[in-house]
Symmetry: C2
Subunit: 321 residues, 2 copies
């Protein structure tokens, strides 16, 4: 029986994620222990969340824990969704954001190290997700560093949906759309290898659209959703988090985008957490390392890898790594 | 291919429901046309909702319509979730609430009558849900009046969860917990027929707890959730709405609580919409009409039926029915 933990469970993404996760396991007829973690100030409203979970009568809930203590919430955890993070606030420099989050994910890594199942998988949703995942992994040496992930699935799904809309097909027909690098504006959704019904996307969509519309739109999609909704992506972020868990724990044999520990593949600095095309075999997500990239894709991926290296170096300077 | 409509799609319940519905049909490998309806003022943020739906890349979305026009949103609809309603505001009398909502559901009934699939099913979530369903059915004579429902599933699930917590079992083991009457504080969750693993709930729980704790807690659960969360039930209401659709369209052979057109069964005034134990056979939800009720249950159900009759009579006075 799996133990699933969600941090930031009292927030908007958490609220969407909790019920999607429960519905997924209920449908699968798999029982879980669910541990919902948030800050002490959020505990009263988390009681309301617990009531609503009760009131859904999901058959999969073997136990439910609501807590503001990491050591309780991560105890024996098999899969952790690290959703909670310090959001970027007005006037905050990117380096402030990095260092404030570094402390959060350092503490979470330490707690995971002490009480989680050593084989646990940890998916970081809270941004900057790849670097936050790197910090958590660094402070959890008893866990497998290849089991720490940054969430890139939302970027991949956004890219696939854009192409599906453009060529008027269903999203599931858009395949092999891998996002390289960072979950940020430097990300590179690699349309050069993507296909629709076996045809290359580059044959179906003209290059001007791909470079001048598709790429910037994907890179800035988060801001576009905020502008329209008046709130950041919640349900779609939760969906991508669940989808990532499904791809890792219940693999379907398709490649997918995942922020994962780099050994230097495709020119990234070894030791970074970065997004790569991954496949799961024998229960382990692995980087597909034999894809031919042309010089344009290589350069785009490198730009994004370099941004991650820059985040890494800032953490070194701050003595966090 | 089913056409599903959701009113009030831009609200909190709507936001939770949209993604649960899409995930359900994606999992079932069934394509749907999804029509999301809300007021003109909400259209800009609905564009954000549409983006997030795109970004989830659900395989079931054959088409997505966002509209503030009922005739567009209900066109050819097979299943409508009527979520949007005027909420009770400070200083508003119950009769104000009734009449304001009556106009909303009259207009929706008329639009359904003109453009929906005549065989459509209509589940009213917006309160007062049973009486709102009655009004919509009244103004949609081309549709089957037995296909209009008031949502009672949240009350049933809350009752089952309470008993499960009390006797320390899983919710799915609590069966045959039917809520009679109205979705209001007069509702009667009938513990006298409910069972846990084949044992009567009345044998497992003492009568004082059932009468003095269980009943009032269920009747006032909505308020309790608001007090804890600082917001009304959203995810659990959405869950109950989806669950009702599943029970009607994909029946599992279990009895469940449903607000449905009454022909006077069990002492209700004929013509009301009221909650009864229902089963689906040959695609139709039907009232189970051979259950023996003791005088206590009869009297409790009658109180709640009488409240519904009272709502009905007020609408007569207002010339809405």
């Amino acid at each position: 029986m799996k133990t699933i933990a969600i941090t930031g469970a009292g927030g908007q993404i958490g609220y969407a994620l909790v019920f999607r996760v429960l519905s997924f396991f209920a449908e699968k007829n798999e029982k879980i222990h669910l541990k919902l973690i948030d800050l002490p100030a959020v505990m009263p409203s988390m009681e309301g969340l617990a009531m609503e979970i009760d009131d859904c009568a999901f058959s999969c809930v073997e136990s439910l824990t609501i807590t503001d203590e990491l050591h309780v919430g991560f105890k024996d955890v098999d899969w952790a969704f690290l959703v909670g993070a310090m959001p970027r606030q007005k006037g905050m420099e990117r380096s402030d954001l990095l260092s404030k989050n570094a402390l959060i994910f350092k503490e979470q890594g330490q707690a995971l190290n002490e009480v989680a199942n050593p084989d646990a998988h940890v998916l970081v949703v809270g941004n900057p997700c790849n670097t936050n995942a790197l910090i958590a992994a660094h402070y959890a040496p008893k866990l497998n560093k290849n089991h720490f992930y940054g969430m890139m699935m939302l970027d991949e799904l956004r890219a696939r949906a854009q192409v599906a809309n453009k060529v008027d097909t269903q999203v599931e027909n858009v395949k092999n759309m891998i996002v390289w690098g960072n979950h940020s504006a430097t990300q590179f959704p690699d349309y050069t290898h993507a296909t629709v019904d076996g045809k290359q996307v580059t044959e179906l969509c003209d290059e001007t659209w791909l470079k001048d519309t598709f790429l910037p739109k994907n890179q800035k999609r988060g801001a576009e959703v905020i502008a329209a909704r008046g709130a950041s992506s919640a349900a779609s972020a939760a969906n991508a988090a669940l989808e990532t868990m499904k791809r890792v724990l219940y693999p379907d044999g398709q490649p997918f985008s995942l922020g994962i520990h780099s050994n230097g593949e495709y020119g990234a600095q070894a030791g970074l957490m970065a997004s790569y095309p991954c496949m799961v075999s024998s229960g382990e997500a692995r980087i597909i390392n034999d894809i031919e990239l042309d010089s344009y894709v290589k350069a785009q991926a490198q730009l994004s890898f370099d941004e991650l290296a820059d985040e890494y170096n800032q953490l070194k300077t701050l003595n966090i790594l």
